[in-house]
Symmetry: C2
Subunit: 278 residues, 2 copies
């Protein structure tokens, strides 16, 4: 019903992505090198699809990267679920990233104090900083975690996503927690390139245009699993939710034809982005 005071009744402009500027415009506002590269490649490639490579082993991971590479902007890994890892695997993943023009995102969810994450990011069996373009972290330990990761990834041109919201039931990353994450990201845009979020449109204020929002738990059909994961659709995540990148796992990796599934999700994600631009 029409309101007697439409201006006062209008919802605040708070879509989490600063009034839905096109990705190519937002690339100019990005202060982090990896964030800028990502926004540029999303516009160039016309893809806002990330695939979550939760597959059985590194051979399946590399095969998937080659299959879905043409349709994605980001390839998301959990390399700590594979029974083996070596530098050659990382190098081959980088070769595929160059071949298909995507960024590699190790979904490590760093969550320790600064001194410890330095060693976990740079070293260990996985040497995450050697082959990934971006990783992510929880802000639970405080801003020292950003400083620690920056000391490793900053000089290499890497970027960091902060977990602002999660898709799982009963997540504690809400309200004041989410706002503390938004503030820390805005204050550290040289290294923080964006967020893992669910619905930044519902946040009290838009985030800086150079920061990217990525949302996991996306399927073409909504639903959930037995361990608390809840799914949303590309249209709801990018449209009403105000996010930028859909992260799709089971909808692609469990498909009979992952490449064809990736093409479908890419089309759905990009259509939602273009609709949101208006």
């Amino acid at each position: 019903a029409p309101s007697a005071a439409p201006a006062a009744a209008a919802p605040p402009v708070a879509n989490g992505t600063a009034a839905r500027l096109p990705f190519e415009e937002r690339a100019k506002a990005a202060q982090n090198a990896a964030g800028q590269r990502l926004l540029e490649l999303m516009a160039r490639k016309r893809s806002n699809l990330a695939v979550a490579a939760d597959v059985a082993d590194t051979a399946a991971m590399l095969r998937l990267a080659d299959q879905v590479g043409p349709d994605i902007c980001v390839f998301k890994t959990h390399v700590d679920i594979f029974s083996s890892w070596d530098a050659a695997t990382g190098a081959e993943l980088r070769r595929l990233a160059d071949k298909h023009d995507f960024l590699v995102f190790e979904d490590r969810k760093f969550a320790d104090i600064g001194n410890t994450v330095v060693a976990q990011y740079a070293g260990g069996v996985h040497r995450i900083a050697d082959w990934s373009d971006l990783t992510n972290a929880h802000l639970v330990p405080g801003p020292g975690i950003i400083d620690g990761l920056r000391s490793v990834g900053g000089p290499r041109g890497h970027g960091l996503l902060l977990l602002a919201e999660m898709s799982s039931k009963g997540a504690l990353a809400t309200g004041a927690y989410t706002q503390a994450v938004a503030q820390a990201a805005a204050a550290n845009q040289d290294f923080v390139m964006g967020f893992i979020s669910q619905a930044p449109a519902k946040w009290p204020a838009p985030t800086p245009p150079g920061l990217v929002h990525m949302t996991p738990g996306v399927q073409l059909a909504a639903g959930g699993d037995a361990l608390g994961q809840q799914y949303n659709t590309p249209a709801s995540v990018i449209g009403a939710g105000g996010s930028d990148v859909i992260i799709v796992g089971r909808g692609i990796i469990k498909a009979d034809d992952p490449a064809a599934a990736a093409a479908r999700y890419r089309a759905a994600g990009w259509a939602a982005y273009e609709a949101a631009l208006g």
Copy 2:
């Protein structure tokens, strides 16, 4: 000064460890197998000292475990900082745990959705569930993370610590977050054996007596580092803080004689415990 109404003026009994019962009494209240074993061995061995094995490689880790083993109740690892890992290293660590009577705690800080932590805990290069007695998790993703880890560690008699507070500057695990963790632990005592906390004595209510509090960032001299870590002393952590186990890293592993340093910390930690019992 004596009060006219001493009962009303008395502070609430809220020391986080249910009125400082002795460890042998609390072992009877423990519902998790690893938690019960830990409380029993602390009483038997007269040690509430955990060492944080943040050393250069697995050889140094195993050497440290053998050096400090006689004085500790828990050996805490970050195996993802080592450039190599294999099943033989895990087996040797277990042999040392049996030789010296301590539990092995992989400080993984799991922080993902249930489905993912299942794979990270059971599998990967590190196969954490194969050689550790306990690990820990952030509750940020919601209770699904407990369910996921329980599905792997429960049948093996392992235990889980939830991160309720952190020692680093600006940590977001405070207030309502900490209380949500306390409630989730109390509701899942079959698998949750306790907390990583800072000062449970300041919490609004005591936690169940079968749950253990462990506190990192402990040194005989207070202070901090350049990446936000802040140190407390054994007496302050166990006494006024109301915790049970002191976790000591740099104060022991950087000492010229780690075994001698461990003996000093063990004595300080146990004296603080006995003083708290009254």
